[in-house]
Symmetry: C2
Subunit: 301 residues, 2 copies
């Protein structure tokens, strides 16, 4: 299969990234980051989460972020919603037209992370998705642990396909397949995509690979060879503190874009503006960028 001619980059830094940074960031800074990312040409920017600030204090202030961003035509600003309470909060906040829901491909991870089975978690999301769709919103689904689980180790591709299919049936327009622990490698990534593509059209699949073991770009290349044309990434590698223990390791958007640009794959994203957005948030966090491209271009911060 030839490589895709164009790829949609989904920016997850302001949510998945900042959620995993130790330093909390003010809503005005998050909004500025989202605006810079939109100015760089990104058309899908995950901008916050309606989870309880008790559990994820980094995501407090999402309504303020949504109110402060300068909306650009053609750009969506999805927010993560874990339950009906979160959905109600999103409705009250206003300005939401897309949400994300999630399920794990690992029973152990689901139990340890959200204290219920995979099926229970999907049952909990069904009314959330239904009401979001009734609001005229789009719903994106995440599957975590698609190439490995911190508790179970390897995960069967068939299990990933099963969860992805259920999210599709729930009305998700796109399913993002997450290598949460970053232990995936290219051949297994391809096998997983092939299994999922039997039940979900490959055009609806997104690759969400963490770079904890340095494998993310190779995995992204491998799944693009199988037809995947949507890639999640995080500006400056937000969410994986480059030099700290316990790095969760989102792949840096700049590094993904550099590869896509080099291969002549269209994204509509400008690398200099993207690097500027990464430099801005790295400065606010007081940490070096996690993007090798940004470091090579600008020298290590």
């Amino acid at each position: 299969m030839p490589l895709p001619k164009s790829v949609k980059m989904v920016e997850v830094g302001p949510r998945d990234g900042l959620q995993n940074e130790p330093t909390p960031v003010a809503p005005a800074v998050k909004a500025r980051l989202v605006d810079m990312l939109a100015e760089a040409g990104l058309t899908a920017i995950e901008s916050g989460s309606f989870v309880s600030p008790k559990w994820v204090p980094q995501m407090a202030g999402t309504p303020e972020v949504l109110a402060a961003i300068t909306r650009r035509p053609g750009v969506s600003y999805p927010v993560l919603v874990p339950n009906l309470k979160g959905l109600e909060a999103a409705e009250q906040a206003g300005g939401v037209d897309e949400i994300a829901v999630f399920g794990a491909a690992s029973e152990s991870f689901s139990q340890k992370n959200i204290n219920c089975s995979i099926d229970e978690s999907l049952a909990r999301f069904a009314p959330v998705a239904e009401r979001a769709l009734a609001n005229g919103w789009r719903v994106r689904g995440y599957v975590s642990c698609v190439l490995g689980c911190p508790y179970e180790g390897e995960i069967a591709p068939a299990k990933v396909a099963e969860v992805a299919q259920k999210l599709l049936a729930m009305g998700c327009y796109e399913i993002s397949l997450g290598d949460t622990v970053g232990t995936g490698t290219p051949v297994k990534a391809q096998a997983m995509i092939e299994a999922v593509a039997q039940v979900v059209p490959v055009e609806k699949l997104a690759a969400h690979f963490h770079d904890t073991y340095g494998q993310a770009l190779a995995n992204i290349l491998a799944v693009m060879e199988k037809g995947v044309a949507v890639v999640d990434s995080s500006v400056a590698g937000l969410g994986g503190c480059p030099y700290a223990k316990g790095a969760s390791g989102n792949v840096a958007s700049e590094d993904v874009l550099y590869m896509l640009d080099g291969m002549g794959i269209e994204t509509g994203v400008d690398i200099d503006r993207l690097i500027a957005a990464g430099a801005y948030i790295s400065g606010e966090l007081g940490r070096p960028t996690g993007s090798k491209v940004a470091r090579a271009r600008g020298g290590c911060a």
Copy 2:
């Protein structure tokens, strides 16, 4: 073309790596590193260089390194030799059975790096290779700037093929193709390999990719898809200080091996022992490892 069933990993950390580290390392430490790498299962370990210590002070003491290492059967310990004077020094040192010579694929780089044209540099290497072969030694050839030059930008694949063919004609048993600046991306890497493979059998080609822009593993995957089954790398990412300006960015051996292991490709190298060798030299240098796998396994140093 299917991926290779096995890959030969060529370890360049003790030479190409340490040569580019700011901290000088004592011969005894270098020898211990080489021994740990051999114990990990590596069978080709570049162990030093007979260049003038005036130009490359980090490589002083190569005779002492060669005298101190515990030679293991089946392991080769090549040294870089830039001219006949270096070859004589290698002969006097003893214990050498393989040397490496080099040429650039960029005229500007050749002029700025070694102050002569590509053809002049190859003419200078011809008697070196001839005498090494007469000694019964093997000769390995490096081509630098194969995917880009800091002065010229893009490099024509035909130029790389021309230089590689000349090194083959000089008697090199293997040609290592170096992305010196790290700006290569997968499609261009494949096109370069296809061009070179028209004049040098692909079995004789090695990939030597720097990770300065984060692209190395994706490029290695891409060229393995074109039949390349020899990969150069540097334990702990030696030679590319992970957090310092001007990182030259050798790809970390641990990260390459993790990918190959995950794909079921045989190397004969043990990842735990390789990580131990990287931890040893990182400790001696007083810097964190440049390997993401090592960081994920052990926490950031």
